[in-house]
Assembly symmetry: C2
Homo-oligomer: 182 residues x 2
């Protein structure tokens, strides 16, 4: 069965954004092998806001070839947008109801793993519905003191099994867990 | 110069306690070598509440020998309690004013490193005064969703340099940083 993987950057104090949406603390190390992760997935799940911000993002014309290739790779994936409002969009399938059933259906289709991109609201829903198989949390060497928490208003404690860790040159430590509740 | 070391357990979402003070999620692994850490320090800094809870704690009579030895070791250390109210206490020196100066003075004395035990208010003060040299954060494989955050109301971002990581059998990952702001 295809796995649903949450992969994102957090600060040491567990925020995915600063109080004003800041993500400037987020480091993309050369040694992070993010391409390997992208190779392992063929589908991305977005919330509506994330999709509108990043799901169709095009780098600036003077961006380097690596950045352009990165976004080409992202945009080559199958995209689903989970939104309370249905929308027709040539680049993505919109899902506006029956999330659990729809996800089960997508997961049963042949293919690679699925990247749960976020944002926070969608992640919360997926945790609540117990739909996440793997958590890949890249802990950045910074505390902000306030911001948007990754885990918020959980209905119950989320217990995880550590699979492995990866340490990068920048001081980012990636903690990879599988869900214990499943 | 003696180092001031913050060593504590946090959840994956950055809490040192649950919303009702819960610390039952906190794991003490055999392979954590906490004794090695205790050997490296000869002084403990407490806030007043932490001192009243743990600074004079005695294990129950039927506790195992390891637990008894642990507390004997803790109580063999020099203890300072940072509290707005001065108090005479046979087991600890109370510091009620001029924290930065007093800490500088203690640090200049010969001796081993110093464990900043907490709680949260004292940690906040020490971060604010830029007095912490080493952060040893044991990230537990659990998210609570709410609780008492380790880092709260920082006056500015706290940037850290990763020194190393230690992974324990239980899935706890210890992240060791040095302060970048110093």
């Amino acid at each position: 069965m295809r796995k649903i993987i949450l992969d994102l950057a957090v600060t040491l104090d567990g925020f995915i954004e600063g109080p004003n949406g800041e993500t400037d603390w987020c480091i993309m190390d050369d040694d992070m092998n993010f391409n390997e992760f992208l190779d392992s997935i063929d589908t991305i799940f977005y919330g509506r806001v994330s999709y509108d911000s990043w799901g169709t993002y095009q780098p600036e014309e003077n961006a380097g070839p690596e950045e352009k290739e990165f976004w080409d790779t992202i945009h080559s994936k199958n995209k689903y947008v989970f939104s309370s409002q249905a929308r027709k969009d040539s680049g993505a399938v919109f899902v506006s109801s029956d999330i659990a059933e729809k996800v089960t259906e997508i997961r049963a289709q042949p293919g690679k793993d699925i990247w749960l991109y976020g944002g926070a609201g969608l992640i919360k829903t997926f945790i609540y519905l117990n739909l996440i198989d793997i958590y890949r949390i890249s802990v950045h060497p910074i505390a902000l003191g306030s911001g948007k928490p990754l885990f918020e208003n959980l209905k119950e404690r989320l217990e995880l099994n550590l699979i492995t860790t990866n340490t990068f040159r920048s001081g980012v430590v990636q903690l990879i867990y599988e869900s214990k509740n499943k």
